[in-house]
Amino acid sequence: MSNELLISLILLVPLLVAGAVLALNSIPDVREAATLVGACALFILCTVLAIRTGSGQEIALESPDIALGLTFAFKLEPLGAMFAMIASGLWILNSLYSIGYMRGSRERNQTRFYVCFGLALFGAMGVAMAGNLFTLFVFYEVLTLSTYPLVAHKGDENARRGARIYLLTLLGTSIGFLLMAVVWTFAIAGNLDFVEGGLLAGKVGPALGSVLLLLFAFGVGKAALMPFHFWLPNAMVAPTPVSALLHAVAVVKAGVFTILKVSVYIFGLDLLSALPGTEIVMWVGCFTIVVASLIALTKDNLKARLAYSTVSQLSYVTVGAMLANTAGASGAALQIAMHAMAKITLFMCAGAIYVATGKTEISQMRGLGRRMPIVFTCFLIASLSIIGVPPLGGSWAKYELMQGAVDADHIYVVYVLIASTLLNVAYLLPIALLGLMPPNADTLEVAGFKRPGGAPFLTVLPLAITAIGCFVLFFGVDVISDFISPVFGARP
């Protein structure tokens, strides 16, 4: 298969899935099979793509000029290939999970749900493979718009309100800031290609560069940098599979991926480390890490707590990119992978608990682990990975980030990371531990199952796999870091 065909197929498969799901509206079993087959096919294609990228092949596809010298261009580099693999691989597991969840909780409009999922993956693949900033922006917006119906899925006033905030924040920041940054970059550099060493390197002074950097950092609303983080907790009105794949993986990771990609290929690490704006973004990132964790502590609703935890963890990536050295940036890249695996597990656990018992508040879950041991064990494993305990994947990302902070002489970042770890312990561990403890002494009553038989098998299987994945990532980290190391070059 030629490389051009490979790129086209990767874009086409999610669209075909969306079309097939729409056509198979009336036969739910075949409809779900179409999603699963499509997801597996996409993952295989992305694996091939990643292998070819790893072997140093030039994989690119460019459309003719569409207007004003802009083109749709796709060009693979290790970061994008990694992101594509994560999103497509987790799509398979999440589709299994969706089937169990959506049927278990008897959701309506399931066809629309799967169609939008396909479109969202189309957006995510486009973001992953984008070869210039214009293409990246276009697919970034595709991702925003295709996920809006998913957030508004329930259709009641509350869901519509959440979805409205979601859409307005993401579109508002991207049109208000990001688009301006993109066009400005275009005006300065004359093109929007991702260039090794940075497109803007040597073309902007410290003041202009800083302004651009701030526009990028806040324009990418999906990276959930404070004060533009509130869409994420609001997006939690969506069904849990959406929160799991999109608001722990595809959408938010597309945001921080954009930040990382802009840092490496538009600014370049050399220019970035010389800009005063970098420092500002780093402060905001550190602030977000700590404050979002503190807010998470106050939330009793499980999904809300996980959402704030995501806000906090996303800023790890932003801070890592702003450290602008090899260790920092590769820590950021690792964090994308590690956090994706752990956080999707946590969300799937939250969903499984909800389907089985209807419980959404943490305080009601005491002792529940006795009834659902697998779910709560997996929750514990994933929590430990987020906290950064070996032998779980999350520890490497944190280690690299700290290394990067020391290299860059930003010791306060190390303290922020340590504080964040302690906060992680405080807001994540009690959930799993209390769940596995005996129920309250005075009532001695565990909440019963709302659904006879507890969580459907299809909701438990995927989260068990991703929990094991957290271990696998710890031991397989060499493969990933070797794969992405060419991106950052050999810098001191």
Binding site: P64, D65, I66, A67, L68, L70, F137, V138, F139, E141, V142, L145, P149, A152, G155, R160, A163, R164, L167, L168, L171, G172, I175, G176, F177, L179, M180, V183, W184, F186, A187
Partner: protein, 507 residues
């Protein structure tokens, strides 16, 4: 271009193309009025406008191949005789107006049955043809006074078209009257301005005027003429704060009239403004630069923000779109006041896109109103469930209005941004960005209502719009997507137009 229309036409027709684009509809208009059966009148109108659009395409191809074409009306040589002149600046406008005209005429079939009393339909179509001919005439003429004549032909018939809505909603009468007063003021200002220019230059031919103005540019006469012309045409183009006639006229006229006017009338007036400012006057003139920087650009900025803001608070969906139109005119004026080739090209680009999307939006709204009977936003709750095709086209065009990637509106907005950045007009970029965010607000509110609100009993009675409405609607909606993926055709036209405006067509 897909088909070489030019080679299909007989040689003797090709020579007369400039006048043919106007002639058909104008001659058919009185015949239409005499038709006892309105369906025959409709068929005649459709026929006349289709021929016009074929001629307009042929003319565009001719101009692209051979450059400026001058046509002496009645054989009286310009500058004394009236000249029709086609170049890259107006040929695309002719194509735009006539293509929208064809689509709007198809759209008229199902809607005028509802909106207009049987005995008035033939007369209505006659007035429509006259309006169409007037707009084409404004675009093709090379004579400044003749432009006024065509402007009045189109305006007076427009007042009639708006007022016909009065048989359903009596507020259309006041809207039409208001429009009549304002429109006449605009036309009078324009003709006074032409009078001053005639006094100073002694000619009415635009090309001739352009060559004589520089010698007398510093006279009070020219300055006064310039001011009158800009004010007059800006009123016609609904420039803030001269836009007060527009929201009522769009809201209360029959839906067909709203579609046609929103997609053509302000566009043609905008073209006339461009023609006068760039080909008769020149952006190099000192007083013109002052007006650009201190009058047009600030007004455009205020329009883009204030009218978007007003749109957010409208409860009637047609009125909301009308305010959005005024804001979008602000975008185009912003591009124009940059006084650069890139700016002008971007604003023409936006003008074409805006015609596509606003035409489609008003069509889709009309399609829902047909079976719903109300154009209040709150009554549109969940209509997507019963009319998915209409609603989807509405959604696509609305996204183009916001400037979402993969739609045409995005590319023209980027072009405007880029043109503003070339001149370091940061504030203009900020203004357009704020206005876009406001557009997200009002468009988002509309889409949320249409797609996600729970429909009530009245909404469940909504039916899909008839096929005759869906076809033109989807042509426009798909156009917005197609030109969002590949706008090289439009940009080649608008770049050509900007080239004409700045260097008289010399490459």
């Amino acid at each position: 271009m897909l088909i070489d229309v030019l080679s299909l036409l007989p040689e003797s027709w090709v020579r007369h193309l400039p006048v043919l684009v106007v002639l058909g509809p104008m001659l058919l208009s009185p015949i239409c009025a005499a038709m006892p059966k309105w369906r025959i009148a409709w068929a005649l109108a459709l026929f006349g406008i289709i021929t016009s659009s074929v001629f307009a395409f042929a003319l565009l191809q001719d101009v692209m191949a051979h450059g400026r074409i001058s046509y002496a009306l009645g054989g009286w040589a310009p500058p004394l005789g009236i000249e029709f002149a086609a170049d890259m600046l107006n040929a695309p406008v002719l194509v735009l107006v006539s293509v929208i005209g064809v689509l709007a005429t198809i759209f008229a079939m199902p809607t005028i049955v509802q909106d207009i009393n049987e005995e008035k339909r033939s007369l209505f179509l006659s007035a429509y043809l006259l309006c169409f001919a007037g707009l084409m005439g404004v675009a093709i003429t090379g004579d400044a006074f003749n432009l006024f004549v065509f402007l009045e032909i189109s305006s007076i018939s427009t007042y009639v078209l708006v007022a016909i809505g009065g048989s359903r909603d009596r507020r259309a009468f006041t809207a039409a009257y208001n429009y009549l007063i304002m429109g006449s003021l605009g036309a009078t200002f324009y003709v006074i301005g032409i009078g001053f220019l005639y006094a100073a230059t002694g000619t009415l031919n635009m090309a001739d005027m352009a060559s004589r103005i520089p010698e007398v540019a510093d006279s009070k006469t020219i300055h006064a003429g310039f001011a009158f012309i800009v004010a007059g045409l800006a009123l016609k183009a609904a420039m803030f704060p001269l836009h007060q006639w527009l929201p009522n006229a769009y809201t209360y006229s029959p839906s067909f009239v709203t579609v046609f006017l929103s997609a053509t009338a302000t566009k043609v007036a905008f073209y006339a403004l461009v023609r006068l400012l760039f080909s008769v006057f020149s952006p190099e003139l000192e007083f013109q630069q002052v007006v650009f920087t201190w009058v047009l650009a600030p007004m455009a900025a205020v329009a883009a923000i204030a009218c978007s803001f007003q749109a957010v608070f409208q409860t009637n969906i047609k009125r909301m779109l009308a305010y959005s139109s005024v804001a979008q005119v602000g975008y185009m004026l912003m591009g124009l006041s940059l006084a650069s080739a890139a700016g002008l090209s971007a604003s023409m680009f936006h003008m074409i896109n805006h015609a596509l999307m606003k035409g489609a939006l008003f069509m889709a709204v009309a399609g829902v109103v047909m079976s719903l009977g109300s154009s209040q936003l709150k009554d549109f709750a969940g209509v997507a469930r019963k009319a998915p095709w209409t609603a989807t086209a509405l959604g696509i065009s609305a996204l183009s209005l916001v400037g979402v990637p993969l739609t045409a509106g995005f590319l023209s907005k980027v072009a405007l941004f880029q043109a503003a950045l070339m001149q370091d007009w940061w504030w203009a970029v900020v203004v357009l960005a704020i206005s876009s965010v406001l557009a997200v607000l009002y468009v988002g509110r509309m889409l949320e209502t249409v797609f996600f609100k729970t429909p009530g009993p009245a909404q469940l009675q909504v039916k899909e719009a008839p096929l005759m409405l869906l076809i033109p609607l989807w042509v426009l909606a798909l156009g917005s997507i197609y030109f969002g993926l590949d706008a090289s055709f439009i940009t080649s036209l608008t770049d050509g137009a900007a080239n004409v405006a700045f260097s008289g067509g010399q490459p």
